[in-house]
Symmetry: C2
Subunit: 792 residues, 2 copies
């Protein structure tokens, strides 16, 4: 770089440095000061917060980045948001959104004066206040941090279909060690320079985690360069610790980056031809805790892991510490930066962009503001014809696929819907999507490839983390989507779901945050149909995990057939600010309800299937409840057996689509009131409940119900192998024979006929086991079983 | 490479190719043939299995690798195991262990003759048979696949402290897209050439996943080379599809790799000086479904995603398919490979290593064979002195740390114990470990670094996936370990835990598999003490997740204080083939039991704390149950309040250490019989249960108990923020005031005194909220609370 050309004039450099000092001052103030926010009187111990909590380490670096991004936003009139990957960048994003004015706009109480400063400082890491992350309370944030690893995935999700947006993604070098982040660098093979925006990663290489050096800081610079180029990026290194040199270097690197991004986009958009670009990124190698205390009690702080949290830990008990803190605070010369009222002086304030160009005020970071309803075709038109219950289906998700294909088509204009899945979209039965749109794929293609285009809208990478992270970023910036996944492997993102559910809970209580579209999971390829895969692929426990989160946020649906699945999915795509979990089958299976009946059933979420029951006007002898497609099938087959052999038995069939109906209304908004629950399940009759998941979940949801003591649940109990679908139910005692025997066991009044039936069914089970061992297939009576209307 | 020197002689090449053909033949046979295993009569439709399930795609490549590894094992007398990363390499590992003889040794029924071949074929992907993975049933396997992403972590875990072992790790290019795998490449910064073995990754670049191309196959070769070098490896590329050329290239690359590994180890061991090596690895770029059908029904199969599973899908309904299958099977010329009896001919059989050098028979892959008990110091000697209940502690995990330090020390000779944690070992209170051993760290160090050495035995990388995967690999090869983690973020490995628990369940039923050491989790930094971090760090749900797995495998402990934690951990370190979850606090907290009392209490796992109860010989009025350190503290504080204000109330305090005691004995081996449960919890008295986790878990475990209807549980209900530890309990109604009020609510006989107390406690809660808002700290009466013996 020739030294005679400078990106920054001396005046601009000086002002940017002053702005940076202001942000750093605010950060130290947040961590330490309860009173005396501008140090207009000598610092006293009483000014210092009683509990010192917070994270300094990453903050000055992020402040540095923020002021530099402000400059390029203004210079190039950029539409940019800021994603703070390091876990604890709270003091930086809070301070900067305060300096730019956004913070006071959304929290007028935290005004731009001395009083507001004091409140800003006090609330930080204070009981009932704000945490040390880029939390939902912070304007401009779509990514909290705390749990690490998802910043790049979120950033790409935000950039999809936002061609004018640049997402500046600060990647922590600690975070970069996580698996999800390590693969997220590859997202650049899924970004189209014509129709998507750009992500500008800034690897914040400050060298240390909580207590350890970071790997990327301790490999050779050559290796790091190779690694990033191998990931497909063009890295620009900004390295050092001298602020003046670093300002110039960072400004130059940012100008380069922005100009490269614009050039890539302009060329692609002008030519209509996409060659996968090698997008620019920046590596900012600066000291951890930059500008903080060099040394405390003889130990080096700046530039080490010791700068991670609170560098000067306890002024109350260490006499010298208060003076150290005083020196540190005063090193930023706040008196030059803030005016008499405590407001940032105009020469500095003008460095920030204005209006929605401010990263704290960019509407993409409060996605509900930009959210447009999906145009939804009438799902009833995709109905599977069910002239009578029990007709063979073609696979429930396959029917759904045609609906989703048209949802994609109807929203092509507004480009705000995508489907995500880890290499499983076809496997999960959603292949119809490819009739309208291919997969997005910006890497190389060869002859014979199918459904791969740079502008595709189905996202497939073999990483559940990426699918989840991309979708979250897409939703958080005001769009809609669906994640289809094998049921067992959705546990891979348990922790990401946790964080998103927590984000939804908190944002639902923040007045200026707008609701976003729901996060929809379609769990096809479920536990009962792993004919290929066996035990490793059998785990229905994601539902258990989900219902631990706030009832206001979580919804779980188990539609028993195609028409119910269509109705449920239409509902989910219209819903807001929930996590919807939908479990459905992809294999051909019997269909039960006409579309009209399905709609009515799904609106109720739970109900008696009168066509399958024979209780007449009297109370039933037994309730056969079912939830999930396979349990519904086995329940109806059991009912069929019972009707044949014990024709006087009065059986009620209850089907559950909306699992949360089982909970008391006091626990979940979808919960039935006790009277309605009792009306369905009776107060005293045996209930044989065939459940898709782990049986105890039904107990957990229903233990407060009057008849709970009579509810006997069958479900998955970790018995599985490579076997037929029917044998899977046998292994777990969920099959028709066991269910029918369960009824006999609980109804002594069935007497000798009951006992005879039980013996017969035990024989059937033996016969089944023998047949399967010999033939590897189910007995013909299982394979060819058909539901038939009861004899009049 | 000069062409005049060949690694393979023409004869050896021809025999290796024949061996490869034999393995490929066995794979196709496993997928297709129910009868006629050596095609000694014309192939008929009746010979073909009725259901065609399995995975061909990765198999020929893995067969190719296996025969080449056999060669170098023999040539260099290597101690090597084989880790099959691609999800579905079952036919390859099964076939190869059969060819080398191991399979028939562990399953004599699957003999080395025509009859055995037929059984081998039939059992594959057949009901009740074996899955299409490298499943536990397969000798030589420590890594099932199925769920993808953990092969490299497992391999490194296996290599730690096994200086003579080389782990050949086949990494699938689909698997390589997962997050865990993407960061696992960095494991090479944690491997010491002096004291650890080596991992030889073989990236199986066959280009396709289920339905998509793989990313690594569709970036430029230059990028791939940079990526792998950036990760710190020296890649050797073996590329092509012509078997003769490929055999020679692979043999050469393997010789190079093995010689490089030996050289690195010899130099390091001779010099005693470790410079981080750039270990070799191989990229095998070969067609997916290599040697399979080129085309079926006009669509290309070999070299595409269509080769992933069963390339010729349905001979029964497609007339030409049977002939295609016949051609394919006969292309391997089985008649040249197997003798009259159906046994591999001697010229080929001798290519395999013998005895335990065979990868299927290597004892490291059946780690229980090598497992040696830990030398454990007497944990009682680490007792925290508890002259009376309620004395202040120093942090329970900090006490534990001293014991673990000495466990490490006592086993330095046999080097079979390691502690793993994601940059949190210090944060979780286990810093004492560093008094004996540092962290293992082979990357660069700088002045001022602490506790980093190439030979360290504490493993820290900021990736829960890596910690879990390394530890699993370490345990599976017969060693011991502990994973310490923040409670909330252990959910990151939910799915890995699932797979390990399933592995343990299955292996416990396989006679030749030996039990291994338990997987021990220490969840410190738990939900109730996230003063720094707030809501994102609060999730006690891992317990819920764990108890969904087989009761035979899972154990959950919540020791209430330091001495109980010591006793529990000693038990866990001695146990076998379990997953033990231990939740403990790291902050100074009151201590309750002397070591003697703790040992007795932990042996029972649950019990009445008589010193805290005042029921005397009569039945209690109320049972105050508690489980977890913070709930125990709040329960005792509530008891203290109740005793002061309602001195005639007869209170029983029950503490639960072993959570599974709550389940019926029919459900869990640790479960109490009903009579014992009733003796503790009564049959009819109110129980106020303060629980560490989500309250409904207690209901789930106890819903069958007689007194369940009277059990009222308080626990975490997703209410949290940045606040004091006591305020966290208030937000979730688990604090002493709520617990005491709960008692009053359930005991109308407390009358006016009870109502007065309730009003007072409501006032206390108001006072608390106000105090905390003003001062950011708890009221002095909370901070200074001390348990005192009840007045006589």
């Amino acid at each position: 770089m020739p030294t005679d050309h400078k990106t920054l004039t001396p005046d601009l450099l000086a002002r940017m440095d002053a702005y940076w000092r202001a942000a750093n001052y605010l950060a130290v103030g947040q961590i330490y000061l309860g009173e005396n926010p501008l140090l207009r009187r000598p610092l006293a111990l009483a000014d210092v917060k009683p509990m010192l909590l917070g994270h300094w380490g990453t903050t000055p670096g992020q402040n540095f980045i923020y002021v530099h991004l402000n400059r390029v936003i203004k210079k190039y009139d950029l539409n940019m948001i800021y994603v703070s990957g390091p876990g604890h960048g709270g003091p930086a994003v809070v301070g900067n959104t305060y300096l730019e004015g956004t913070y006071s706009e959304v929290y007028p109480d935290i005004s731009r004066d001395v009083e507001g400063l004091q409140k800003l400082f006090r609330q930080f890491s204070f009981p009932g206040g704000i945490p040390s992350h880029a939390s939902p309370e912070c304007p401009g944030s779509i990514h909290e941090g705390g749990e690490l690893g998802y910043s790049l995935s979120h950033s790409f999700g935000a950039a999809f279909d936002n061609p004018d947006l640049i997402v500046a993604c600060i990647v922590g070098d600690g975070e970069a060690e996580t698996g999800p982040l390590a693969t997220a660098w590859h997202s650049n093979k899924f970004l189209d320079p014509m129709t998507d925006g750009a992500v500008l990663p800034i690897l914040h290489l400050n060298g240390y985690k909580i207590a350890n050096p970071t790997l990327l800081a301790r490999i050779t610079r050559e290796e790091l360069d190779q690694l990033l180029r191998g990931y497909g990026w063009t890295p620009l290194f900004v390295e050092g610790s001298d602020p003046a040199l670093m300002h110039e270097a960072m400004a130059t690197a940012l100008d380069d980056s922005v100009e490269q991004i614009c050039k890539i986009q302009q060329e692609a958009r002008a030519s209509g031809h996409a060659v996968r670009p090698r997008w620019p990124m920046i590596v900012l190698d600066s000291p951890k805790g930059w500008t903080g205390p060099k040394e405390v009690d003889g130990l080096q702080i700046e530039g080490t892991f010791r700068a991670h949290q609170v560098p000067i830990k306890d002024p109350a008990t260490h006499p010298g510490h208060l003076a150290l803190l005083d020196d540190w605070l005063r090193s930023y010369r706040a008196e030059e930066l803030f005016d008499e009222q405590g407001r940032l002086i105009p020469e500095l304030a003008e460095l920030a962009p204005i209006g929605t160009r401010r990263m704290g005020a960019n509407p993409h970071a409060n996605g509900g503001q930009l959210l447009r309803d999906l145009h939804l075709p009438d799902f009833r038109e995709y109905a599977f014809k069910v002239p009578e219950p029990g007709v063979p289906g073609i696979g429930d998700t396959i029917v759904l696929g045609m609906f989703l294909r048209d949802v994609m088509k109807w929203n092509e204009g507004q480009r705000n819907f995508r489907v995500f899945g880890p290499d499983e979209t076809l496997s999960n039965g959603l292949g119809a999507l490819f009739e309208f749109t291919p997969r997005q794929w910006d890497a190389a293609t060869v002859e014979g490839d199918e459904f791969l285009e740079p502008t595709g809208r189905v996202m497939e990478m073999l990483s559940e983390h990426q699918c989840e992270g991309w979708l979250e970023g897409y939703l958080l910036t005001g769009r809609h989507g669906l994640f289809n996944c094998y049921e067992a492997f959705i546990h891979i993102v348990d922790s990401m779901f946790n964080q998103h559910a927590k984000w939804l809970k908190v944002t639902s209580t923040i007045p200026w945050r707008r609701n976003i579209a729901s996060l929809n999971y379609l769990l096809a390829s479920h536990v009962w149909r792993q004919d290929h895969n066996g035990f490793t692929h059998q785990d229905p426990g994601f539902i258990d995990h989900v219902v631990n989160k706030k009832a206001e946020i979580t919804r779980v649906y188990l539609p028993p057939d195609s028409n119910c699945l269509l109705s449920v999915m239409d509902h989910c795509l219209r819903s807001r600010h929930y996590v919807n979990v939908v479990v459905a089958g992809k294999h051909p299976a019997p269909q039960w309800l006409t579309m009209d009946a399905a709609v009515k059933h799904c609106i109720k979420g739970i109900g008696i299937w009168e066509w399958a029951s024979n209780e007449g006007d009297e109370a039933p002898d037994v309730v056969m409840a079912c939830c999930g497609d396979v349990p519904t099938l086995e329940t109806l087959a059991a009912v069929s057996i019972l009707r044949e052999h014990l024709p006087t038995l009065k059986i009620r069939v209850v089907n559950v689509v909306d699992l949360m109906r089982l909970q008391p209304q006091s626990e979940h908004p979808h919960g039935l009131i006790d009277a309605d629950f009792d009306a369905l399940f009776t107060k005293d009759k045996p209930v044989i409940f065939a459940f898709h998941g782990y049986p105890w979940l039904v107990h957990r949801l229903s233990y407060r119900r009057c008849n709970h003591g009579n509810i006997h649940v069958r479900g998955y109990k970790e018995e599985g192998t490579i076997t037929t679908p029917f044998d899977m139910t046998v292994l777990n005692d969920l099959d028709r024979f066991h269910l029918a025997m369960d009824v006999v066991d609980r109804l002594p009044q069935t007497g000798d006929r009951g006992l005879a039936l039980k013996r017969k069914l035990q024989g059937k089970l033996m016969e089944h086991k023998k047949h399967i061992r010999l033939h590897g297939q189910d007995m013909p009576e299982i394979r060819n079983w058909r539901w038939e209307a009861a004899p009049a």
